[in-house]
Symmetry: C2
Subunit: 364 residues, 2 copies
Amino acid sequence: MERAVNFNAGPAAIPLEVLKEAQGELLDWKATGMSVMEVSHRSKEYEALHNEAQERFRRLAGMGSEWKVLFLTGGASSQFFMLPMNYLAEGRKASYLVTGSWSKAALKEARRFGACAEISSENPGGGFTRILKTSELDIPSDSTYVHLTSNNTIFGTQWKTWPDTRGVPLVCDMSSDIFSRPFPAGDFSLIYAGAQKNLGPSGLTLVALREDFLARAKTKDQLPTMLSYRVHEEHNSLYNTPPCFSIYMLDLTLRWLEKNGGLKVMGRLNEEKATLVYKAIDSSSGFYRNPVERESRSSMNIVFRLPSPEAEEGFVKEAKAAGIIGVKGHRSVGGIRFSIYNASSLDNVKTAVSFMEDFKKRRG
Amino acid sequence: MERAVNFNAGPAAIPLEVLKEAQGELLDWKATGMSVMEVSHRSKEYEALHNEAQERFRRLAGMGSEWKVLFLTGGASSQFFMLPMNYLAEGRKASYLVTGSWSKAALKEARRFGACAEISSENPGGGFTRILKTSELDIPSDSTYVHLTSNNTIFGTQWKTWPDTRGVPLVCDMSSDIFSRPFPAGDFSLIYAGAQKNLGPSGLTLVALREDFLARAKTKDQLPTMLSYRVHEEHNSLYNTPPCFSIYMLDLTLRWLEKNGGLKVMGRLNEEKATLVYKAIDSSSGFYRNPVERESRSSMNIVFRLPSPEAEEGFVKEAKAAGIIGVKGHRSVGGIRFSIYNASSLDNVKTAVSFMEDFKKRRG
C-alpha cells in the first residue's frame, strides 16, 4: 500500500507510527482482552490513560498544575458559544480580534451573550490577508477576556507574536496550529482546539484553562450541566462518558510528539517545511501567487493561486493522480491550499514541491 | 489472546467481527492510502459513508424519509438540555416520565427552560424498581412533548410496552437499549442515544427526529448555532467536523446488525440471553435476588444482589479472574449488574450463568 501525501485541512494526516500502534492493539488493549473502545471509562486502565494524556499535554505545553485540561466534544465551533456562555453576563464584555472566518464566527456566537468589541483585519473589499498589527491592538481594558484565532486555516495567516493584552485574560482558538511550535503558556488564560488537525482524529475538543480564569466562570447552577466548565473540571472530564478512543489517539499522538523532540523541534521542522513551499511560490515568477502579507504567512496552511481557475483545477486533479491529496482551497475562497500539519513529513512536502515545479514547467 | 466476557455498561462490547474489519483497514481505507481517521469530512468517500450510515439506521429502525438522522456529540447528557432548549419557551410545557436516574437528570435540565410535569415511579423510600403502569400515565394533553427513558441502566428496568400519549409527541432516550429489539418508530417523534452501548464506541450521539416535530423546534437565530437541531439537519450533520471514526464504527456495527437479521432476530436473542440470567437468579433459592418487578425487568441490564456486600465483592473479584468483566453494579446502587447488549453473545451469557451457578455452590 502506498501512503497518500495527505494535505487535508482536517481531519488530517496522523503519524503512521501512531496508526500502526493503534492497529496493533485494536483487539486487545493492555492485555485486557478488550479493545480500548470496549473498556469502561470508570476502569482503572482507562483512567490511567485519561490522566496520562492530560499530563502529557501539560508537559508538552509547559503548563504547570494551575492548568486544567478538559476533554470535551462538539469541536471548536461549540467553544464559540460555550466560552461566552460561561463568562459573559450583564455588565461584562469581551473583545474579539478578528483575522479570519473562524474568529468572525466565534464573535457572532459571543454576541448572543453580551457586549463584544471587535478589532478586525478584514480587507475593505472583504477577505483577510494579514494578521492585526501591534498598533491596531487597542484592547479595552475592561474586557473579561480577549479572543483570538492563532492560525487562520482558510486564509493561510498566522499570529507570529502574541499581543500584549495589558492584563486582559487572553483566550485562543489554537485548532489549526496547536503544538506545531512552542508558545508562552503563561501569556494565556484559556486555549482550545479541535483535535483533528495536529492532535489525532476528530471527535475530541481540548480546552485548557488556568485556575484563576476558571474561578471567574459562572457557577454550575447558572448553566446547563454539560455546558459548565466548572462541572467538567470538577469531574475531571468524566461527568459523562468521554470520547475514549479519541483520547487514546491523542495520547499516542502526544507520545509521538515527545519522542520526536517536542514543540521546539516540531516548530523548526514546520518552519523548514513551510519555507520550502513559500520558496517554490516566490521563485515561480508569478505562476504561483500567495496573497498573504509576508509577516502573516502561516506555516500550517499555505494558500496560493495559479494564473487561472482552469490551471487550479488541473493542479488539484494532477496532484491527486500523483498521490497528493487535499490541496483544494476552502470552498469559500477557492485556489490551492497545502495543510502541512505536524504529521506531514518533510519528505511529503518535498514531493509536493517537486510536483509544483514540474507542473509549472508543463503549464507555465 | 483470550477475549474477555465483556459485561461493561458502556463503553461496552463491540462485535469482534466489527473490530477486525476496522483493524484490517485502519491504515488504508477504501484504497485512499489513508486511514478513515485521516480522510476529509468533505471528501466524497466520507460523505458516502456518512449517508450510508444514516440510511442503514433508518432502514433498521423502519423509519421512512420523514425521519432525519443527526450525528451529534456530547452524549445523551447533552440531549437532556438540547431537547428542551430547542422546544420549550414561554407558554410551552413538557412532561417527563421518570423511571430512573437518567430520566430524573433529563427532567432537571429541562426545568431550566420551562414548565415540566413529572410522572414518576420512584419508590417512597427512594430508588426505582419498576416502570410506570398504564393507569399512572395521565399525560397533560397540552405538553409540547413527553419524554421517557426506554431502559434504565442503573436500576435494570425497561419499558416493555409504549405509552399511549394521546397525540402528545413522544421523545425517547434509547441510549441503553437502542436496536436491541424492534420498536414502532411511528409512535415516536424524536429518539436519541449515546452510541457506546449498542452502536459502537463512545463519542457519537444519535438523534433521529421526524420532520413534523423538527418543524416545531426553535429557529436557528434563537439558539447558539451548534445547539440548533435545525442547523444540524440543514447541514446533514456536517455543519462542522463530525466524529468521523465513531460514525465509521457505527456503520460497521449497523452492517453487522443487518447481516445478523436486524432488530427482530436481535430482540429474540436478547430475550433468550436475559431469560437465562433471570432463570439463574430465580432458581437460586434466594442466593441471588433481583429487586425489580417482574414485568419491568430489563433484558439489557440485569441487576441482582447477593446475601452480603462481602459476597458481592467476592463475586466481582472471582468473575474478573474468570475473565468476566464489568459486573459491578453502578456506584450509586451497588450490587451486581450484567450488561448484555447486542454484542454480548449467547455463549458469553452461558459462561456467566455457569459462573453464577458455580459461585453459588461454593458460597451458597
